[in-house]
Subunit: 314 residues, 2 copies
């Protein structure tokens, strides 16, 4: 085993595939787990029944450990947890919500529980709940994010300092070089989202995947801070948001414009103009849609090459 | 020589001390250069006469190379450049402005010219101007910053890919671990600002230095994006700005509230409530005010320790 993280999770490589809404079904999760990382099914976009189906299919597609990412803010979280427990999923990553309520319930079932945080305050709270792992997610990450806007470079060492549990760095990591950077900062592993969103096995629409590949720096933005901050592509929908903001929008107006189902419409159905396209800044670095296994292998290979390249300073 | 950056600049360690307004006078610059890094005098807060005085004093205080950081947006830039040329300063870091006008004038005098950028677009422009070095500065950095909000973790690899000149990473770097992270991402060196702002030799007010040490994550913000984006501490002045923003401020109102001399008032005169206190996110990591030499030695020592700690992944 490479380190305390891979030992705890029973995986070969310290690479976690982020459980992303509309991207991370059983195909992606099982492909990453089979490649030696940890695949996560993204429960945020699934009904309890659909989650059940994905867990069963994932278990048939891999003999390796896999997990579920569970946003805690949705109304069906209790039913989703029942599905997770019934299926004996060994690992759960919780996010977007209060870990105080569910952590011990999951742990009592022998489940390893990680929680995603974006600040020291929430890391301390999560530790108090008895969390096994912390995911320290920086400002550059795609999707839902913190209000403090602390970047991965700054956040990981802060969390390292106050934490006794293994730390997984997230945000801005889509290469072996960035993975090595995360380890330099004190991380025990990395969570990779955007790069897997644009991989063959992702369940998102091909138009969304191609859009991710075409992005440059400055093409994403952290917005909707008045509701729940989210990083997404600056598309036509975002321009509409900007117009509302320029007139001094209140949360009611923002909620009305956002409406329902925008994330599905964008990422799953491929409406690049009016959909909500959640992705990280790091997407500016990607050049092609690849299979998950190739991405995992590249990450490890480039990590090792970058490590050899750096010499001590005398 | 350690690498192409230290060779080009004639320095021992690939550490640049950022030339920060109201912080980086001859005392700080000479202390960092004497410690083996590259000290930069921050011309942005100096009249040409005062800059002349600081350059002469710095030259007396160190036999090692030092440079000047020159924001290009100020009205006295031509006179400042005359002072730099007359004093045969060997290295100039330009920032906040268009390098097209001044780069060749400086280079014709045999001066090595670096330019600070925050996006691929501006990096390409700077390269076209014949720049010798690029400073890739991420969103987390203190003071003036880019509009794209790209973090150091994401920006450095993007610049590395399109650049033929040595790259200095800036933003979020205040430790040897973060320095190693920057090298992992492809940087040839690092520019450290905040940590030197809070060091003994910084010319800023002791109250400002103590405030830096006391900061936690989430205590700084990138604001005034309608004028020139700047990262500063969320103090009383920032709360006043927020009030103006909440009413849908235009640039005229913002300029009026900002007024003149706020940065001096805050950082140099120690008005922590109503001054503009420019500092990076990384300040949340600092524990004490230290001498510059100790900081340089810590950076190198911790860089080497972090490098030894990381094992290849098999």
């Amino acid at each position: 085993m490479y380190n305390r993280l891979t030992s705890l999770l029973g995986i070969k490589y310290p690479i976690i595939q982020a459980g992303m809404v509309w991207n991370s079904g059983w195909k992606l999760a099982s492909a990453v787990s089979n490649a030696g990382g940890l695949g996560l099914i993204g429960a945020g976009s699934m009904t309890p029944d659909l989650l059940n189906e994905h867990i069963i299919k994932c278990g048939k597609a891999t003999k390796k450990p896999f997990g579920v990412n569970l946003p805690l803010m949705y109304s069906k979280v209790e039913q989703q947890i029942q599905v997770i427990i019934q299926n004996k999923v060994p690992i759960v990553f919780t996010s977007a919500g209060n870990p105080a309520i569910w952590t011990q319930i999951l742990k009592n079932e022998g489940i390893i529980v990680a929680h995603v945080i974006s600040s020291v305050k929430f890391a301390l709270k999560a530790q108090d709940c008895g969390i096994d792992l912390l995911v320290a997610e920086g400002f550059e990450a795609g999707g839902h994010n913190g209000r403090e806007e602390t970047t991965t470079m700054v956040l990981v060492p802060l969390i390292k300092k106050i934490s006794s549990v293994p730390i997984i760095a997230a945000g801005g990591i889509g290469s072996g070089e960035a993975m090595l950077a995360a380890f330099s900062l004190g991380a025990d592993g990395v969570q990779v989202g955007s790069r897997f969103a644009a991989c063959h096995e992702s369940s998102s629409h091909i138009k969304f995947k191609q859009k991710i590949i075409d992005l440059h720096d400055g093409h994403t933005v952290l917005t909707l801070k008045e509701l729940a901050p989210v990083r997404m592509i600056k598309n036509e929908f975002y321009r509409d948001l900007e117009k509302v903001y320029s007139k001094g929008a209140d949360t009611k107006q923002l909620k009305h414009l956002l409406g329902k189902g925008r994330a599905k419409r964008g990422m799953f159905e491929g409406d690049l103009d009016q959909g909500e396209l959640e992705i990280g800044q790091v997407s500016a670095q990607f050049e092609s849609i690849q299979p998950a296994e190739k991405i995992v292998n590249h990450l490890i290979c480039d990590f090792n090459h970058a490590l050899i390249r750096i010499q001590p300073i005398e």
